[in-house]
Amino acid sequence: MDLAIVLSSGLLIGGIYAFIAIGLNLIFGVIRVANFAQGEFVMLGMFVTYLIQTNFHIDPYISAWAIVAPIGFIFGALVYIIVIRRLLDDHYMQMFATFGLIFVFQNLVLSLSRGEAKQTKSVAAGKTIKAFGLDISIPRLIVLLAAMGVAYLLMQFLNRTIVGTAMRAVAQDQKTSTLMGINTNQIYILTFGISAALAAMAGALLTPSYAATTEIGFGFILPAFAVVVLGGLGSVKGSLVGGILVGVIEGLAGYLLDPQLKQAVWFTLFLIVLVIRPNGLFGKSVKGGMLA
């Protein structure tokens, strides 16, 4: 049944989008920064995973959380400290700077990889599992499950731990949080680090399914924004549901219209949500949200 194939692959793609969008949304919600370079963290994660696999023969599914994620965290923290921290007050300069980061990361990798696509080897690559009469790609299924797992863990962290609660406090009201004794600088570093780690991990988990190229990151950033808008600013659950929804809608549109019109689909979705329900599915009406 064609429709079932479309839906299942849309679901799986949605898992990827959700994974990338969760980190993006976290940065949006807590620091109020639009991190255009989020896709580049994914790209870098993919390349690092490739290097680890080819040089040390560690499978992506192990290096993803054991090595790549921590490296991503440190990298994200550094990016925040060096670039983002000084631009907290100026939204436009933030955009310029994060675009600058895109240029720098892409071209750094370009000069090192000479533009070649790098395919990482993995035990699960190309394997499928039969379910509901369909062949489901195992690597992609793992990404979807990982996305759900990560979303769950993140929500536990935000709701049940002191640090997580501090993050939520800063997201809701930065000035008052500072007055209450929360070190917002540390919270921001933590947030950026976690988001970068999530993105890098997503990249690692993608390597069995996709070859790493310099442009792959930028291709994810638009659907990631569409997910954030659809799911709602500041909502982890929203990113998960939104990601899956965007993936399914993209699949359906590709099936009914044309796979090449993916971008048009995201943008239309983006616009429709903005006009009808600017807070997205799960977003709260937070101060400093999307509307002017």
Partner: protein, 337 residues
């Protein structure tokens, strides 16, 4: 201290038309003479062509971005609309050059006005994201449809190109630049300029003064789009072919043009030109020097410049010059006491 405008011997306190426009004309004359001189060398000629073209594009972007405070990262759409209008009508339908250009301008204005209402309701970052998304959609649509020649792009037959002489192009691009900067100067001196600045700095206060922010932003958007479209038309006629991935690229054009305005000086008449004259030839130079040996060096350098500019150099070259001029003024005033 009262002002009596009926008494014509007393001047206005604001910069008089003579000083502003006079300075503009003189500056442009000097620029024109310099470029005529360097155009003797073909290499510098083409650098100047690119510099003037992107100077005009950056100036056009600045009207919406620097003056009105709405940062669009999707202006590549209008470059594309201008380019496709001319290229397709000329190649497939044998239109003249001017009608194609005018068509592009009209479509660009219509598109700008159409997406104004949904996008301008959004806060800064989201407006930028929206324009970015729009630009990417345009790219994928251009590569998809057959009547836009899909991913192959449009190759304009050589005999249909109106101008092929580099020296003549220099004049054309120079005129384009002057036109864009003149429009910029005209707007900023008039009512619309003041309104745009108010909307940029404080929308609520602007509204309380009777200004409708959406109207002003839309006007700025339309003018910016029209001038950008004109530039796009000229660009495709200059190159002779249209590769959608080049003309509608966010990284090469959509994010590059705002950078030029930023480096040169946002919200000033001269700034965008300065940025373009610095970075366009600069980028070409880097590409030429390192082609092959270090892929990505030129764009990577652009990235570093972008980050440094955002962090430390927000007022751009012109801002730095103005700051210097103020300091010199203070020193001379202090010395004369």
């Amino acid at each position: 201290m009262t002002l009596d405008l009926e008494n014509t011997s007393q001047k206005t306190t604001l910069k008089s038309p003579l000083k502003s426009w006079g300075g503009f004309v003189v500056g442009m004359l000097i620029l024109g003479i310099i470029s005529k001189l360097i155009s003797a060398d073909g290499y510098y000629n083409s650098l100047a062509n690119a510099g003037f073209l992107f100077g005009g594009l950056a100036t056009a972007w600045n009207i919406l971005g620097g003056y009105c405070g709405q940062f669009s990262f999707g202006h590549a759409v209008f470059v594309g609309i201008g380019a496709y209008s001319v290229a397709l009508t000329k190649t497939d339908h044998n239109w003249g050059t001017i009608p194609g250009i005018i068509l592009g301008i009209m479509i660009s204005i219509a598109v700008a006005m159409a997406i104004s209402w949904p996008l301008f309701r959004l806060r800064g970052s989201f407006f930028a994201i929206g324009t970015l998304a729009f630009s990417e959609v345009a790219l994928s649509l251009a590569m998809y449809f057959t009547w836009t020649h899909g991913a192959l792009g449009v190759q304009i037959p050589f005999e249909r190109l109106p101008i092929v002489d580099q020296k003549v192009w220099l004049i054309v691009f120079f005129v384009y630049l002057v036109f864009c900067m003149g429009t910029s100067l005209f707007l900023i001196r008039g009512r619309i300029g003041y309104y745009m600045i108010s909307v940029r700095d404080d929308e609520a206060t602007a509204a309380a003064s009777g200004i409708n922010p959406l109207t002003i932003k839309t006007i700025a958007f339309a003018i910016s789009a029209a001038l950008t479209s004109l530039g796009g038309s000229l660009y495709v006629l200059y190159l002779g072919n249209l590769d959608p991935r080049a003309f509608l690229s966010t990284l090469e054009i959509g994010a590059f043009i705002p950078l030029l305005a930023l480096i040169g000086g946002l919200g000033t008449v001269v700034g965008p030109l300065l940025g373009a004259l610095f970075l366009e030839p600069g980028q070409t130079y880097l590409r030429g020097q390192f082609a092959g040996s270090l892929a990505g060096i030129s764009q990577g350098t652009v990235g570093i410049i972008l980050i440094l500019a955002a962090l430390y150099f927000r007022h751009g070259f012109w801002g730095a010059i103005q700051g210097l001029a103020r300091r010199l003024q203070r020193i001379s005033k202090g010395a004369s006491k």
